[in-house]
């Protein structure tokens, strides 16, 4: 089939036999269905192609980072304030992301929030001769909504009719609004701060019921005082959720390697029964015990039990992959088990030998933080580079890992000798050696497993990550030095997280064949279950306070406000709108290929105008939230925030060029920005660094999104 190259207008005359061959080959392709190059896209890969996944991983990393450096993070107090900051930002970011997916920008969105709040306040204010309408809020709120709709309509029509870039048109609107805000505020009340919205209640001409302040205040600024909600088993629920969820995720990864089997294996049922029995026993034990370490142990046991149950299920109903590619060699199992055992011996020794004064042990580990960070970073970078190609034959992994391990060991040994003379020093070395040996053994297991199948490597790495978390919690629980605790904890947590991401990426970017699809269903179920368990744990962790914390004085006001509910509601609505409605399809279409959308009958101009109106209605809502919250708005309120909305949307995976993105991602993006706003002062850093941090997040988010999108698409080809 080399004699014809279509498209070049070649003169070679193809005989009919060749033509028939073309047709026959086409027939064959169609009959056998799949082109053998079409790779199967697994559960995780389908997840990774979604625009918001990068943002979620980023949010987890930022959160873990700030949790470790700022004491207020990771508990209800900090979470409430992060949510509070993210709510108004997030509502706008979600609306703006819809507009951006539709291929347009709205630079007036920030100024519009303040403007619409001020309009409402001026409508309810009664200032006698100077102006102000003195209306009831029942009338003023719908009126300002009409103003908002008009503003969006104006933006949309201007952009559509003139055909100018929305960037320029809305930049003009931004300045117009800015001028109006200042001008009208000064003209009407001779002041640049416009207040107060509760004066509707003081208007003498209206009777109390019709003023509306009592009615609307809880709608826009109700408060759920979370300090009333005490849950002493909070940390247990969180730990159990995390470990069980992690185990289920590991099981999901494991499951990917299996095919449905017609022959049932009774051994599976036995293992499953043992797992379930173990889980029940653990829960009973937990019920009868108290204390942190007992709970940690119970959570770990429960995780093992859950793994055993699902492993049994897998064994019962499924069989291993294609013959010849068994999941584990015995060698791998030996290495992995040895690694886990060594690591736990280390932890046990450190706890057993010196419960009273383990400060130096932990300082020693603290000294290891930079080698560990470098090791983790090198491994991560290496793996990212490695996914570019698929030649595993000349695997330099062993060399790289060995060199890094030797370097880390030497650094560790030198450091350790300084402590040799003391009892703590001995303990430190024992702890350090066992932990390091455990990690090396696990790395070896991962290497051995990787030679058999990428899935096996993913599993071993997940186990290693779980071990890392175990280490992190041990260290956090043992240390008394806040400075040390936060640093070591953050390093270990981040390393473990990186390892987990590495495991997922390396496992699921491997090319898979069609029959892998069958393994995906159970795997997807497990993954969902795992995420749910982690989610439940996290919610318990973030919404509730323990008696200890209250006693420790963490009682500064941290309340969940109505704005958060609005934020959640609008995110859900926008996600539904985008994903499940006709209008959602049209948004993607006008942003992705306006010409094509128009050709095929999508009302492009109307869709875009509606998008501008959605943004201005969101601005109206945020204006009201701010007005009820602050009572008085400055004429500058909201100016300049439009770029934060755009950043949030972009961090959430929305393409600047339109046609791709997610409303949920934008909400996560808003959370990331809010976390950096709250976390930097929380860590007692100079808050001037906030903008630099924001810039770095933006850049890394864009690069990560781009990378993930290209990877996932390329693999889906």
């Amino acid at each position: 089939m080399t004699d014809s190259v279509p498209g070049t207008g070649d003169m070679v005359v193809i005989d009919e036999a060749t033509a028939a061959e073309i047709a026959a080959e086409a027939e064959e392709t169609a009959v056998t269905g799949a082109d053998e190059r079409l790779a199967y896209r697994g559960v995780f890969q389908r997840l990774l192609i979604r625009p918001e996944v990068g943002a979620i991983i980023g949010a987890a990393a930022v959160w873990a980072f700030f949790w470790s450096v700022a004491d207020t993070f990771g508990v209800a107090t900090g979470f409430a304030s992060v949510l509070d900051v993210s709510a108004t930002l997030g509502i706008m970011a979600v609306a703006v992301s819809l507009l951006m997916i539709g291929g347009e920008f709205d630079l007036s969105s920030g100024a519009a929030t303040g403007a619409l709040g001020i309009v409402t306040i001026l409508l309810v204010k009664d200032i006698g001769e100077l102006g102000g309408a003195g209306l009831s809020l029942h009338i003023a709120i719908p009126l300002s909504l009409i103003v908002a709709l008009g503003l969006g309509f104006f933006n949309g029509v201007m952009v559509e009719k003139t055909g100018l870039p929305s960037f320029i048109v809305t930049l003009a609107t931004f300045f117009i609004l800015r001028g109006f805000k200042l001008g009208f505020s000064k003209l009407i009340i001779d002041n640049i701060s416009v207040g107060r919205i509760d004066e509707a209640a003081a208007n003498a001409e209206l009777d109390k019921g019709s003023r509306g302040y009592e009615f609307w205040k809880p709608v826009f600024d109700g408060v759920w005082a979370r300090n009333d909600h005490i849950l002493d088993s909070r940390d247990t629920i969180w730990l159990v959720g995390f470990l069980v969820g992690g185990s289920l995720l590991a099981a999901a990864i494991y499951e990917m390697n299996f095919r449905s089997n017609d022959k049932r294996n009774p051994m599976g049922l036995i293992v499953m029964a043992a797992g379930i029995a173990g889980a029940i026993a653990t829960i009973l034990y937990m019920h009868n015990s108290d204390g942190r370490s007992a709970n940690v142990l119970a959570a770990a046991l429960l995780a093992v039990a859950a793994l055993a149950s699902f492993g049994g299920l897998a064994l019962w109903r499924y069989k291993r992959q294609a013959p010849g590619s068994t999941l584990f060699s015995n060698e791998t199992l030996v290495w992995a088990i040895a690694g886990v055992v060594a690591l736990n011996i280390g932890i046990f020794l450190a706890g057993w030998l010196g419960v009273e004064s383990q400060e130096s042990v932990l300082d020693l580990v603290g000294g290891l933080r930079w080698p560990l960070v470098l090791l983790g970073a090198a491994a991560g970078a290496y793996q990212v580079w490695r996914t570019q190609g698929s030649n595993f034959a000349n695997d330099p992994f062993r060399i790289g890992a060995t060199v890094a391990a030797i370097a880390a060991s030497v650094a560790f040994a030198v450091y350790a000798f300084m402590f040799m003379t003391t009892e703590q020093g001995l303990r430190a070395i024992l702890f350090g050696l066992f932990v390091l040996a455990g990690l090396l053994l696990l790395a070896m297991a991962a290497y051995k497993a990787g030679r058999v199948s990428p899935v096996a490597r993913g599993l071993v790495l997940s186990v290693t990550a779980l071990m890392g978390l175990r280490l992190a919690w041990f260290v956090q629980g043992q240390s008394r030095s806040t400075k040390f605790r936060t640093e070591a904890f953050s390093v270990i947590l981040l390393t473990a997280l990186m390892l987990l991401v590495w495991a997922l990426v390396s496992t699921f970017f491997e090319t898979r064949r069609e029959d892998d699809a069958r393994a995906a269903s159970l795997s997807g179920l497990l993954a969902r279950g795992g995420l749910l368990a982690i989610g439940i744990g996290l919610i318990a962790r973030l919404l509730f306070t323990t008696t200890d914390e209250q006693a420790a004085g963490q009682t500064n006001p941290a309340n969940f406000r109505m704005s958060v509910l609005w934020f959640i509601g609008i995110t859900i609505f926008a996600t539904w709108l985008l994903g499940s409605t006709k209008f959602g399809s049209w948004i993607f279409a006008v942003g992705g290929n306006k010409q094509a959308a128009r050709q095929i009958g999508v009302p492009a101009a109307r869709t875009k105008t509606q998008l501008f109106m959605i943004v201005s209605v969101a601005a109206w809502l945020v204006g009201l939230l701010l007005a009820f919250r602050l009572n008085t708005l400055q004429s500058g309120t909201g100016n300049g925030l439009e770029f934060e909305y755009i950043i949030a949307a972009v961090v959430g995976g929305t393409l600047l060029t339109g046609g791709y993105g997610s409303a949920f991602g934008a909400a996560i993006g808003a959370l990331i920005i809010a976390m950096s706003k709250q976390g930097i002062p929380g860590a007692r850093w100079n808050s001037d660094w906030r903008f630099a941090f924001l810039g770095i997040i933006l850049l890394s988010a864009v690069i990560a999104n781009n990378f993930i999108k290209t990877k996932a698409e390329a693999a889906g080809r």
């Binding site: 279509p6 073309i22 698409e713």
Partner: protein
């Protein structure tokens, strides 16, 4: 076989430029009419007249027996003439089923809470593609990740599903490799087998001859003839298309140059 389109001495003039002159051919249901011509032969003008983008200035254009002159592509589409252009009118980052149903999404629920019936949409898209002989495993995958031939088949299946009687394909194989071209030719036959009249525009006689039932050859805006398959061989087709004598001359020069 019923005749869907008959064209008699169709002409199109832009001022004093003759873009198309004296074109006569017909399109029958269940048959493939190939329009062949080198670059600048008037193929684009020809399609645009059929699809309602331009109007003809001379001759007679009969659709299902009655004389027509379409004022817009929408009008042609309503009659059942669908054109699949080279750029395919697709949104690359959108999923297959969304592209398939874009602008005509099946909905359910009560206003204002109406949503797209994803299950029906996804299954219909899959089934329609299967009728064309292509197995789309995952209709959620973005159209941009499909191969050129598969993308072509989505466009064809979409036009067929939305009630086209005549399908105009503008150079569907020009950007494809040998294998993919073969796949697209198969879709063309599949569409014809389902009773559509297909107009297949190409400059590659090797692609046209295996699938065509009738061949219209254009050169410099003029018809070089309108043949049924049994009246012409592929070699003759190639020769006529490039202006006969010119090709022989060229072949001679090329062999001299070696």
């Amino acid at each position: 076989m019923s005749t869907l389109i008959e064209l008699e001495d169709i002409g199109k003039f832009y001022g004093n430029i003759i873009a198309l002159q004296g074109v006569t051919t017909s399109v029958n249901a269940g048959e493939v009419t190939c329009v062949l011509g080198d670059n600048g032969a008037g193929k684009s003008t020809f399609i645009k007249i059929l699809a309602g983008v331009h109007q003809h200035d001379a001759g007679d254009f009969r659709f299902e027996g009655e004389s027509v002159k379409f004022n817009s592509p929408r009008e042609a589409l309503n009659k059942g003439i669908a054109a699949v252009y080279q750029d395919l009118a697709m949104v690359p980052l959108m999923s297959v089923w969304r592209n398939f149903f874009l602008g005509a999404e099946p909905s359910k629920g009560v206003w204002p809470f109406r949503w797209v019936d994803k299950k029906v949409a996804s299954e219909t898209a899959k089934a329609e593609m299967a009728k064309m002989g292509i197995d789309i495993r995952d209709t959620e995958q973005p159209v941009g990740t499909l191969s050129g031939g598969e993308r072509q088949s989505v466009a064809i299946a979409r036009a067929v599903y939305f009630g086209a009687k005549v399908l105009i394909l503008d150079e569907p194989t020009s950007a494809l490799g040998v294998r993919q071209s073969g796949v697209v030719l198969k879709y063309i036959l599949a569409a014809a087998e389902r009773g559509l009249g297909v107009i297949f525009i190409t400059h590659n006689p090797a692609h046209a001859y295996p699938v065509g039932d009738r061949f219209l050859i254009l050169n410099r805006g003029k018809s070089m003839g309108n043949f049924a398959k049994d009246e012409i061989t592929q070699a003759e087709l190639t020769q006529k298309m490039s202006g006969g004598a010119e090709l022989e001359q060229l072949q001679h020069e090329l062999s001299q140059g070696r």
